[in-house]
């Protein structure tokens, strides 16, 4: 059974939190994720859930308290965006290295400066190497579905890693769309009871967490963490499979949209995938074989699977909603090109930076990208490999 409703992405995630009813949630407000702790607090105030909410005094403390609660044996989570994620960066590393299966509802927003509250992926991409599993959503439905899968992935004994569930600020978090919600008992059944093996409050079985370690131990600890991230691949697939079986929705690592015979594929993350799909439909009507590969899981990075999905295309556009200032593309561009090289897939690629600070990514923007891929392949035109799309210039009407 399921329920039809209309919700924003923030409401959808807060609703999933209510259904899961975790033990402890410390949080600090920051646009555009503020609604999530607000809604959870309201559910608690109205006795619709009984999670212990901690109104901490900063995001550094929200992640610190999340780690403390999780270490104590409580299923824990927090929510944040942008500068909040940056402030808790040190703690993100500790959550992962202490092997805490906690969850973070991230609503993607750019980082200062200039200060701006709108969407891009600078925040989560900056945290890509902190040891968290990262799962991204195209819309409110996926944010909801992904959130329900977070604890089963994190708490799996093969994994024991924290999970970041990402959705696009405002575009997804605030836009109200139709959604299909699962029944409460089905969600509770899917997520299950939390039964930690070792925890601080285990009577008669004390443990110590957070040691100082000298050099002979550090690399082994990191390797164990890396292996857990590798194990996460199969666990993410298993959990996605079970979810699909039970609720009929979702993807493993990515969604392939009309890529089967596609000559030109756009690889993209988040809400802009919807726009890209519209462009693909339009171009297909004109006989242009375009497709979209929408990445759901960025950590662990599905390198082999992406290479396999792109190998029959003539060219691909790798879309980063983030700048990494390395002089040749964003983080997705770097990872995908490495994946193609490693798997001997030698197709042509162009790397685009788009949508920074909430800049619209339009269907026309997507047409232009596919057009440039086509010019590169069919006309032999040479392009600078790292490009910005949707950038205003001195020729733009609003600048003149």
């Amino acid at each position: 059974m399921s329920m039809k409703d209309r919700m924003s992405g923030n409401e959808a995630v807060a609703y999933a939190i209510k259904q899961i009813n975790p033990d402890v949630m410390p949080a600090f407000p920051i646009t555009p994720s503020t609604e999530i702790p607000q809604l959870v607090s309201t559910y608690i105030a109205n006795n619709e859930m009984d999670t212990e909410f901690i109104p901490v005094e900063s995001e550094h403390s929200s992640m610190s308290a999340t780690i403390g609660a999780e270490a104590a044996g409580a299923r824990s989570l927090t929510a944040t965006s942008s500068c909040g994620l940056a402030l808790m960066w040190e703690e993100l590393l500790l959550a992962a290295s202490d092997r805490m299966p906690c969850v973070l509802a991230l609503v993607n927003r750019t980082l200062s400066g200039p200060i701006n509250i709108n969407c891009d992926h600078t925040d989560s991409m900056g945290a890509r190497d902190t040891g968290w599993i990262q799962i991204y959503a195209e819309n409110n439905q996926e944010a909801y579905d992904n959130f329900i899968q977070a604890y089963p992935i994190a708490e799996d004994e093969r994994v024991h890693l924290p999970v970041m569930i990402c959705q696009d600020g405002f575009i997804t978090s605030h836009a109200v769309e139709n959604i299909i919600l699962n029944e409460d008992p089905d969600v509770k059944d899917f997520v299950g009871e939390y039964k930690p093996e070792e925890f601080l409050l285990n009577p008669g079985k004390p443990i110590a967490i957070g040691p100082y370690a000298i050099s002979p131990y550090v690399m082994e600890a990191r390797k164990a963490q890396e292996e857990a991230m590798e194990n996460a691949r199969e666990v993410i697939k298993e959990v996605a499979g079970k979810y699909r079986q039970k609720f009929g929705r979702g993807f493993d690592f990515f969604e392939e949209y009309r890529t089967g015979d596609a000559e030109f594929i756009m690889l993209i993350i988040g809400s802009a995938a919807g726009t890209a799909k519209q462009a693909v439909d339009d171009l297909r009507e004109k006989g242009i074989k375009a497709g979209v590969l929408k990445l759901r899981v960025f950590r662990p990075f599905p390198a082999e699977e992406i290479a396999a999905a792109l190998k029959n295309a003539k060219a691909a556009a790798i879309m980063d909603r983030c700048e990494s200032y390395n002089g040749h593309g964003g983080p997705l561009a770097s990872e995908v090109r490495a994946a193609l090289f490693e798997n001997n897939v030698r197709i042509k690629v162009l790397c685009y930076t788009y949508g920074l600070g909430g800049r619209d990514f339009t269907v026309e923007s997507a047409y232009n990208v596919f057009d440039e891929l086509s010019q590169m392949v069919n006309d032999g035109k040479e392009f600078k490999q790292h490009r910005y799309i949707g950038l205003r210039s001195s020729q733009s009407p609003e600048v003149r």
Binding site: P26, I54, H60, S61, A69, L200
Partner: protein, 312 residues
């Protein structure tokens, strides 16, 4: 119950020997004294900010702690234990812990992790009123990184970031009064203590702090032989001089009521506390007499202020 030193000292140690803290360190003596106030049947989760105590007592794969222990980072001992204590309430509420199991929550931080980098986290935990005790072992500088000044460092102390030189008399600023600041959070119990001959003051205050519901704070003067440069065997004597010169008065603030725990029969001159410490050596050079006068004036001013608060 009347205090019985022998009985208290015979309680099982909850911070066991074998750790790597220095000889003559006040912190470990203080921590053991605080933990003796735990009722033996009660369990505890110990929190710890990064610092000497943490790196020397939980060096993987060994731990000196008999109770569950969590170190997270330098600046967040207050927030981390907030999470642990909240988890306890959540699990109790949901019937996931046996009803007869009682856990107490005590966190230790040095003055760096408490007065300075962890101040916000501490203030938040105190204001939210978590049922925990935060114990600051105040040795008056960042000792773990090599004796840099903190806001707990006394005026004129020679530290590695306020070195004494031809153009410097050491730290130029007065120390922060953290116990008062935490008392202004209107928490149920705040006390200042240190190591005394019979350990009664620290025992009584720790017991009160641990068994008073809500957020409680202890400021524990914990001399550091490396940073203060005294003979390791003199740690107890240094503490006595800190108290008898009124540099470190013993007091408590119980639900807003300020009480002096000890008033020296004869208040000793501050020189008696400063002279045995290498960090104040320069104050005793000819020509620096006025610095000693200023130090004494500051001690007197704070002492008078405390007497006023305690309505003496």
């Amino acid at each position: 119950m009347p205090y019985n030193l022998k009985e208290v000292m015979n309680k099982k140690e909850r911070l066991t020997p074998g750790h790597r803290m220095c000889a003559g360190c006040g912190a470990t003596i203080g921590v053991r004294a605080v933990l003796r106030a735990l009722h033996e049947e009660d369990r505890a989760v110990i929190g710890n900010a990064t610092g000497c105590l943490e790196v020397s007592t939980y060096t993987y794969p060994y731990t000196s702690w008999e109770d569950s222990y969590i170190h997270n980072a330098f600046e967040n001992a207050g927030a981390t234990l907030s999470g642990v204590e909240t988890a306890y309430r959540a699990l109790k509420k949901r019937g996931r812990l046996p009803e007869n199991e009682n856990f107490k929550f005590i966190t230790f931080g040095g003055d760096g992790g408490t007065y300075d980098i962890g101040f916000q986290s501490l203030s938040g935990a105190m204001e939210r009123g978590h049922d925990m005790v935060y114990v600051c072992y105040d040795n008056g500088a960042y000792m773990n990184t090599g004796i840099q000044r903190s806001s707990a460092t006394p005026m004129y102390a020679d530290t590695t970031t306020t070195p004494v030189g031809s153009a410097s008399n050491g730290k130029m600023q007065k120390r922060k009064d953290l116990a008062s600041i935490i008392a202004e959070h209107n928490v149920p119990y705040v006390a200042q203590t240190t190591l005394t001959k019979d350990f009664k003051d620290i025992y009584k205050k720790s017991e009160k702090a641990i068994y008073t519901e809500g957020a409680c704070f202890l400021n524990l003067l914990a001399p550091c032989p490396r940073g203060w440069r005294y003979e390791t065997a003199d740690v107890m004597e240094i503490c006595r001089l800190a108290v008898d010169t009124c540099y470190w008065p013993l007091f408590e603030v119980d639900h807003g009521n300020w009480t002096l725990s000890y008033e020296p029969k004869r208040k000793l001159p501050i020189e008696d506390f400063l002279r045995p410490q290498g960090r104040f050596k320069h104050l005793f050079k000819p020509g620096n007499e006025d610095l000693l006068v200023q130090f004494q004036e500051e001690v007197d001013r704070r002492w008078e202020d405390l007497l006023y608060k305690c309505a003496k």
